[in-house]
């Protein structure tokens, strides 16, 4: 393999436990299989190993990472390794005390998600009465020396409120807003029929974002994550399999992508059994789809192969059963018709809430 390859980013999924039940959650369906969580000491070793590999950023996510009582020491450990630290949370436990300890511990960035801009809809999606608490958490973070991003996952149930999400962010004084169209993995894949936005919603969303970017230029940065099933080309998933990102699951499996555990044809390895550096360099699970050698046609001879790396392996697997084919989201894929039928399958089905 290419000796230069160096991971830049480590996603620490500290736990899959969560007090909310978002039907759009990309966490895996078999949440209970992840209850044997890594210890504080094991996470520290993972952070050090990642820093030694050249990783520059550690993201703490889950599940809800603030449910781990050792979150503060882990942020401190990451900062001590020289890593940039990012907390990805829904904010319901982010009180003054925890926030102060995190910032004192060296936290650089917090991302807080809301389910919708209106309390009633947000609480219905979250499956809990939490929306107002999140606004408090957002205000609290704004007063601290730490960067803040507001995230809202968009899907059919809240897409029509996209403009209100931007207004909500503006009222609070948010500088960075991430509007992420739902990606269909885990619970979201299970709920895809209920969550699939309509073409109208997607087009309207694009117009709203374009106008808001112009209006708010210089005061708010809007990151818009494009919807999975609506483009001509796939997303450059993880910037290529095993090229820049490592995810470690709550129970210690190292994955090239947070959704990869769903691919049952690959044997993933655990940091309890093998050093992270060895897994990154040599594990068949990381090497299998790294670079371009694995590619079948039409990717193999395609000009875009080093732009999108053939798209997403997890999506290829979910939709075709084979993780080694061109992402069906690509219009050049022989399986692209199945994307169109998934996109059009939008009955009024009720989503099921995430549960363990």
């Amino acid at each position: 393999m290419n000796e230069q390859l160096r991971p830049l980013s480590l996603l620490c999924e500290l736990t899959y436990r969560c007090n909310l039940q978002c039907p759009y959650c990309y966490n895996p369906l078999d949440l209970r299989a992840y209850r044997d969580e890594l210890t504080t000491g094991q996470w520290r070793s993972v952070l050090q190993a990642a820093a030694d590999l050249g990783v520059v950023q550690a993201h703490f996510s889950g599940g809800e990472p603030t449910l781990r009582s050792d979150l503060v020491p882990l942020v401190e450990a990451a900062a001590a390794c020289g890593l940039y630290t990012n907390l990805i949370t829904q904010g319901t436990f982010l009180d003054d005390e925890l926030l102060d300890r995190l910032v004192d511990g060296g936290l650089n960035h917090v991302q807080i998600s809301i389910q919708a801009p209106q309390a009633a809809l947000a609480d219905r999606i979250a499956g809990a009465i939490v929306h107002d608490k999140k606004a408090d958490a957002l205000r609290r973070v704004l007063t601290r020396e730490v960067a803040l991003t507001l995230n809202c996952v968009l899907h059919r149930l809240n897409h029509d409120s996209i403009e209100e999400v931007i207004d909500y962010a503006q009222r609070l004084g948010i500088r960075r807003l991430e509007l992420a169209n739902v990606q269909f993995y885990g619970w979201a894949y299970r709920n895809r029929v209920a969550l699939m936005p309509t073409l109208e919603q997607v087009r309207h969303g694009e117009d709203v974002v374009a106008a808001a970017r112009e209006r708010l230029h210089g005061s708010m940065e809007i990151v818009y994550v494009l919807p999975d099933y609506f483009g001509d080309f796939p997303k450059p998933c993880m910037n290529g399999w095993g090229r820049q990102f490592i995810t470690v699951t709550p129970n210690g499996y190292a994955l090239p992508c947070p959704a990869a555990a769903g691919i049952t044809t690959l044997a993933f390895e655990n940091v309890r059994d093998r050093a992270l550096g060895d897994i990154w360099r040599d594990s068949a699970s990381f090497v299998r789809y790294r670079g371009t050698d694995w590619m079948p046609e039409p990717c193999r001879s395609c000009e875009r192969r080093e732009l999108d790396w053939g798209g997403c392996r997890c999506q290829a697997y979910l939709i075709t059963g084979d993780p080694g084919v061109t992402d069906p989201a690509c219009s050049l894929s022989p399986d692209h018709a199945s994307i169109a039928s998934l996109r059009e399958e939008t009955s009024g089905a009720e989503p099921v809430y995430r549960r363990a």
Partner: protein
């Protein structure tokens, strides 16, 4: 950004030096790899030093005219300011 303005980093923005001499700007959700003049300029950002002084120092160090360095750096600083990475 005015030449007399004294830029400072926005929240959650960090310069990082790697062993091999490369410098990155770490920002929420990403990292920007900096070329040598950009890195030299951002190393001088401390909230008290005006942009003109930063430009002059970089021009001297890389042996280019202050005009040339000023043009390149203004553009960089402008871009970073718009994204809230510099204030």
């Amino acid at each position: 950004m005015k030449p007399t303005a004294c830029p400072r980093f926005g929240k959650g923005v960090k310069l990082r030096h790697d062993g091999n001499g490369s410098v990155m700007l770490l920002i929420p959700e990403g990292a920007l790899v900096l070329n040598a003049p950009a890195a030299a300029a951002l190393e001088l950002v401390d909230g008290t030093r005006p942009l003109v002084e930063i430009v002059a120092a970089v021009a001297a160090r890389f042996d280019v005219t202050a005009d040339r360095a000023g043009e390149d750096l203004s553009e960089l600083f402008e871009r970073l300011e718009q994204r809230g990475l510099l204030q």
